[in-house]
Amino acid sequence: MEHSPFRWLLPIAVLAALVAAWEAVVDLNNLPPYVLPSPLAVMETLIKDRVVLFQSMLVTLQTTVLALIFAVIGGVGLALIFASARIVEFSLFPIAVILQVTPVIAVAPLMLIYLSTDTAVLVCAWIVAFFPVLSNTTLGLNSVDPNLRDLFRLAGASRWQTLTQLKLPTALPYFLGGLRIAGGLALIGAVVGEIAAGSAGQGSGLAFRIVESAYRLNIPRLFAALLLISLAGILIYAALSLLSWFVLRRWHESELGGPA
């Protein structure tokens, strides 16, 4: 089963069957496109509106990637500070938890009051992406093999040597796991931010196209935008999985079977 073509063919066949069933349901019942557009109609809209839709996709992707980069900088940076002084961890971790458990959709309106639209959307995406990076990296930095730590002490390793040659490599698989979660969450954060902002115009992302299409009952376009958001999510996940595989393939159990 591991290497048989069924591993690829089966999920594709299931997906194709679902799309065919969808098309059949729409055709047989003569459903109007504003109730449920057929897959073909969605594809047509995707091609017809490609300029505006892909533009929006780029905006959303850009926000997501930027938020992810800031989440990595903030999350890893704070985790390193946590690891160097437990007192900082005790003092600051509750605040990070509050940031995490407060639904971002509830915070978004406030952000929009204080910040420009673009920045507010970026901050929303950052808030949700930041926590998994922080908590996973902290967990990783605290997971050092105590015997290896003793070995470093015995060899008279400096703090810097212990950090770069022991703690960071130990934390790497944990960090990459957190990053994969953060990638998906950053997209969700960006979408939530865009929906809350609801601003029309040039620089608006895919989520705004969805809201706009819903108001105009342009359901095929709504589906097309939805499809592109899924595609953006898959792209981000695939890119991060590939990164994880590339970094860990030689030594970590999680990546021995090839990229996920």
Binding site: L148, D150, F152, L154, G156, Q161, L166, W251
Partner: protein, 257 residues
């Protein structure tokens, strides 16, 4: 008798949770010997090893390095190799990089360390595995890498904390033989913690039997260091007799309260 390398005098160790691991421990390590610390689990023999390594400080008593200069290398650093119960390798680094570690931390570059690393790998019979990763190796091979890493700095004192306890018997016998060969070849001092009577008798020139709660030395046995240690010895009546004697000493240590 060989001169002492270090001496523990009245050493006690109490942990923060107020368990007493050691109390009034007097023992010495002599230059060039193969000393086994034998005892039931929880008797403080591993703690004694960590005290000697300087990984933890005694609560009472003192550790006297009378032969201190013999235990230091040219840079004046205390020359100690430590092998843990688990191989304790860095999974992200190749065999070569794992063995390089102690030298790397001392600032010796890859190129400069290369001959020492090659030599250490040859000593443990892993010349062909320098580019392998730990996960690709068997348990016995991982332990060999761990030993090579401890040997790469050419320590005068090698401390081993039940290194072969997790290995199967066949692998353990093989590693026992190879360890003795390394010991003779390098002429270093080895302190070996074990709970196996048979292993301690096969390897040691001297055995200290520990008793538990609180941990201290209960008996001392010497074995002729010139006795060849090979498979013939392992099946000889002398070996059986020594094992019997040691087992009795261990049984007495476990009864004593």
């Amino acid at each position: 008798m060989a001169s002492p390398l270090l001496r523990l005098e009245g050493v006690g160790k109490r942990f923060a949770n107020s368990t007493t691991a050691l109390e009034g421990l007097d023992m010495e390590v002599r230059q060039g010997e193969f000393l086994s610390l034998l005892g039931p689990s929880g008797c403080g023999k591993s703690t004694a090893l960590r005290l000697i390594a300087g990984l933890t400080e005694p609560t009472t008593g003192r550790i006297d390095w009378n032969g201190a200069e013999a235990a230091r290398d040219a840079d004046g650093r205390r020359s100690i190799g430590f092998v843990f119960q688990e191989p304790t390798l860095m999974p992200w680094a190749s065999v070569f990089a794992n063995v390089h570690l102690p030298l790397k931390l001392a600032g010796v570059s890859r190129g400069k360390a290369e001959p020492a690393i090659a030599e250490a790998l040859e000593l443990v019979g892993l010349e062909g595995f320098r580019d392998a990763y730990p996960r690709e190796l068997s348990g016995g091979m991982k332990m060999r890498v761990s030993i090579a890493r401890a040997l790469v700095t050419k320590p005068r004192l090698l401390l081993m904390d039940e290194p072969f306890a997790a290995l199967d018997e066949i692998t353990r016998f093989k590693l026992n033989n190879d360890l003795l060969q390394v010991w003779r070849q390098l002429g270093c001092t080895i302190v070996f913690v074990t709970h196996s009577v048979f292993e301690s008798v096969f390897l040691s020139s001297r055995i200290l039997v520990f008793r538990a709660r609180p941990g201290r030395v209960s008996a001392e046995l010497s074995i002729d260091p010139n006795q060849p240690r090979d498979d013939a010895f392992r099946t000889s009546p002398e070996y059986a007799g020594l094992c019997r004697e040691t087992s009795l000493a261990l049984a007495r240590a476990m009864e004593a309260r």
